[in-house]
Symmetry: C2
Subunit: 237 residues, 2 copies
DNA sequence: ACTGGCTGTCTTGCATGCACGAAAACCGAT
DNA sequence: ATCGGTTTTCGTGCATGCAAGACAGCCAGT
């Protein structure tokens, strides 16, 4: 297998963050983590450094690591990036997807529609993620795939509840439908535009989102310097 | 100052890589680096982990770290990303740049023109970088700014000689001119399109570049597993 | 009571030590 | 001489130890 502990830890911690088990602002204590994972502090530290380099945690020298808390502005900034990245994925996918991939897309999209009708936003959320993943892969651009996924993951603590907006699921699946059509027709330009709109500011999902957010759960860092001020009791799990 | 050694090291190493002092494929020996920087291996390791997380180096467990060597395909992939990111910068900058920033842009652009006429590609290269930086900043989107710079840095080992192409400097500055015009007119759409073209595949800079490249200097990793096969003598400086 | 400084405690940052694994060096056999 | 297997060597991965810095609590002074 040949995977080092620090990598395992990094993945585990990133997962905790993305899944919302470690909330923004939560303190990540080296010793506690070391103990939880049954290692020494060293690999924990290395994992934290990696996550810091990717923007998932913030390490303030001599003050420890906390899960990054993004304020509204920063979230919007990331959405702007997300829109063009996903847009590019769609553009490239329209040109490059293999027949098998197109079939996969169609099938996942159908599943999305089914689950949307079913009505559970959380279940839909999972399939929605798969839908987008299929398009990332369809771009046949690994770097882009990784980059896009990374930004997506950074946002994930904040989008969790997005689909709980009334009617948002229906709208999402409708937008997917338009994207799929463009993709299958090979209309790269339109696919990109539609995807951008789906993710980006132009869709009203975002403004809903913002108004809902203004401090996502309870924590957050309006000023970076305040991020750690609210030192909550190291929950993480 | 409050900056940890591992951060300093990370910046120093990233700089070595971007500046071409550490070539793709070069082995980064922990002990050697530790000695050079007068520390123990620990902060060196942490720095390497950070760089690995950002895609600058690759750490193969138990086999040490090497500067990432991108093959042609991967470079093209990154250019595709670069194009949309810089395009977004331009789009946003067209709308958001302050008068002061617009003045700065104009002035840097003028300087570019002057240096282009002067004829030294390397001097122009530096000013060209500043030009793009002004636009990153003009986007008023910090996340985007960082992200774009990061991708740019990852590519930098490969673009160094790009401008040595005959006539490339003149073309570059001409494209800048078009971008600047769109920016100053506040034409976001056009600014984005032009910038995309400037960076991306549509400009012929890239195909020139590719034909010139096919293994940038001597090293490279067509197959990831081969990356370190060519273990060159740990130059780095 | 509130502010400012001091001290103690605790966590981080870095150094060092040790063991496992991989590559290189070696060696005998064909 | 080349090849397969062994041994040796060396570098990495992780554990541990130690010192400096940050925060909390305490105390004195206003």
């Amino acid at each position: 297998m040949a995977e080092t502990r620090s990598e395992q830890l990094a993945r585990a911690l990133e997962d905790d963050i993305c899944a919302g088990r470690a909330l923004p602002g939560a303190r990540l204590d080296e010793q506690v983590l070391a103990q939880r994972f049954g290692t020494s502090r060293t690999p924990v530290r290395e994992a934290l450094k990696m996550l810091a380099a990717q923007g998932f945690v913030e390490i303030r020298p001599r003050q420890g690591a906390v899960v990054v808390g993004l304020d509204v502005r920063q979230v919007l900034e990331l959405f702007e990036i997300m829109a063009v990245l996903e847009g590019l994925c769609a553009r490239l996918a329209a040109r490059r997807m293999t027949p098998a991939e197109r079939a996969e897309l169609t099938s996942v999209h159908a599943e999305c529609q089914r689950l949307a009708a079913a009505g559970d936003p959380d279940v839909y959320y999972a399939m929605n993620t798969r839908f987008h993943e299929v398009i990332y892969a369809g771009s046949h651009n690994r770097q882009l795939e990784e980059e896009t996924r990374r930004v997506r993951n950074r946002l994930s603590p904040y989008r969790r509840n997005q689909l709980h907006q009334l009617g948002r699921v229906a709208k999402s699946v409708q937008e997917h439908d338009d994207v799929v059509r463009a993709l299958l027709e090979g209309d790269a330009e339109r696919a990109e535009t539609l995807m951008r709109r789906h993710i980006g500011i132009q869709g009203d999902s975002l403004s809903d989102f913002v108004s809902n957010m203004s401090m996502p759960h309870h924590v957050a860092a309006p000023q970076p310097s305040l991020a750690g001020a609210i030192t909550r009791p190291t929950i993480v799990r």
